[in-house]
């Protein structure tokens, strides 16, 4: 088994685009949650979202390519380009046939679909735009990355709701570790701000009417976000041999399912996913210093996640820092795991643990150290990134600070 390094990061998010802006915002506890502007917010019972600010497709794509790609697919490509540049990859030295692209995506091109349905059902156009299918498909981002880079190895998209990109990164990690591929571009993207899709979230009554306050007693629900994040994974030895900068190592991946309920979380499924991730990476619970929580800000998730962490870590749970960066980049569904893995990697590299923003008051049901509102300057050796999806699908990644 090979050790696997993270050597490049790219981010598009409501908290900032570009890994440096993203990380600056997270360390400052600066939330990207604002009044929604992409949709007419007066139509909804909630008004806030973490939209990517000032995004112009023509900054990144020629007009014809932009026509082909829904916003979510563009985010995958834009974050991939930053990650590739960050890793200092020289494509002439990369074995593209043995490189993988694995992306996570929950719902694909929702705004494209919305436009098509408006044409069809409202405007009675009798037809939709012919680019609807290529724009909507959840693998559009992964496929475009393959076309743009010339990567011909395994390229696919994982869809497990809010865990999608954690599953994607975990599978890519295992492929690199076991020598199935020599390198992987892994992460995910999502663009949630379309009227029809937001109405569906509104109907579930889980979106907060104010903001996202994970683990705070006055939390009122989640806040949706959009964006993309990609990580470059390669064998540690190869990374060191080519003189690459190593952010951290990815050491473990655990995945389980609750077999319980389509929306209600369970304690057992998340707990066993955390245990598996540590076991997979040979990590003892006492070595873990930080958990980037799933931390959606719903009443149910945060209390259940707290119980799961206590069950797994016992007394050590009180020595962990557990924060939810969703309080700043929102819940970007299929992109969430990748944004949070990126935050976790940067936390290990920088020795700064990002806070839980918008935190007001302690909740006895969420009695962990959640780094309320202030980042923590603290070096940790191991960290976990938790993702727990609707449908009871859990994915946990374990990372180790660079030696």
């Amino acid at each position: 088994m090979r050790r696997v390094a993270v050597t490049g990061l790219g981010v598009v998010s409501g908290a900032g685009t570009g890994r440096e802006r993203f990380w600056d915002a997270l360390c400052a506890g600066r939330s990207g949650i604002r009044p929604m502007e992409i949709v007419d917010r007066s139509q909804f019972r909630f008004s806030q979202g973490a939209e990517v600010q000032g995004y112009d497709p023509l900054t990144y794509f020629d007009a014809k390519t932009a026509d082909l790609l829904d916003r979510f697919a563009q985010f995958a490509v834009v974050s991939m380009r930053e990650a590739v540049a960050d890793a200092g990859l020289d494509w002439s030295l990369v074995n593209k046939a043995r490189t993988a692209v694995v992306t996570g995506c929950c719902v694909g091109g929702q705004s494209t679909e919305d436009t098509g349905f408006v044409d069809l059902y409202i405007k009675q156009a009798g037809r939709v735009h012919p680019m609807t299918i290529p724009r909507v498909m959840a693998n559009a981002g992964a496929s475009r990355i393959s076309v743009e880079t010339g990567i011909t190895g395994p390229v696919y998209t994982v869809s497990t709701a809010c865990s999608s990109s954690s599953h994607a990164i975990g599978q890519a990690f295992h492929m690199v570790r076991h020598g199935v591929v020599e390198m992987a571009l892994a992460g995910g993207s999502e663009a949630v701000f379309s009227t029809g899709f937001l109405k569906a979230w509104e109907a579930l009554r889980v979106v907060s009417p104010d903001t996202c306050r994970p683990f705070s007693r006055d939390r009122k629900g989640m806040i949706l976000g959009e964006g993309g994040a990609m990580l470059i994974l390669e064998p540690l030895e190869a990374a060191l041999a080519r003189g690459a900068k190593v952010y951290a190592e990815i050491v473990g991946f655990g995945m389980t399912s609750d077999a319980h309920h389509i929306t209600q979380p369970s304690t057992e499924g998340p707990a066993s996913a955390m245990r598996q991730a540590m076991e997979d990476g040979g990590v003892t619970p006492e070595a873990v210093g930080y958990i980037n929580a799933h931390g959606t800000g719903t009443a149910a998730n945060d209390a259940v996640e707290t119980r799961a962490i206590r069950q797994v870590f016992g007394a050590h749970a009180d020595r962990l820092v557990v924060s939810s960066t969703k309080s700043m980049h929102g819940h970007a569904l299929g992109a969430a795991g990748a944004l949070e893995a990126t935050a976790t990697v940067l936390a290990l590299q920088s020795g700064i643990l990002p806070p839980t923003a918008n935190y007001n008051e302690p909740d006895p049901e969420c009695d962990l150290d959640v780094a309320p509102n202030q980042a923590r300057r603290q070096r940790v050796r191991y960290a976990l990134s938790n993702s727990f999806a609707f449908g009871g699908l859990n994915a946990v990644l374990a990372f180790r600070a660079k030696d």
């Binding site: 007009a63 026509d67 037809r127 012919p130 680019m131 290529p134």
Partner: protein
Amino acid sequence: MPENLIARLIGCVASTQHIAAEGIRAESTFEELGIDSLDGINILFALENEFKIQIPDNAAQHAKTIGDLAEGVRALILAQHPGSGTEAGNGASA
């Protein structure tokens, strides 16, 4: 071939392809213009809008040039808007 029809057709091609209309002539082949099969589907969609016609799935299969496309469009206008001449479908792009 009415010049108006050619000009409108070239306008559709230019806008869907994001290329300048000045560079497109009746003799231009799709190959010269870098138009692939997916681009072709986009262009047919724009032409259906512009001329208020319905283009059957395989109707444009053998068209190789802008002129071929214009011939096909003219025939469809005459068939689908009889009596309106080749000026049919005017204003349809609005």
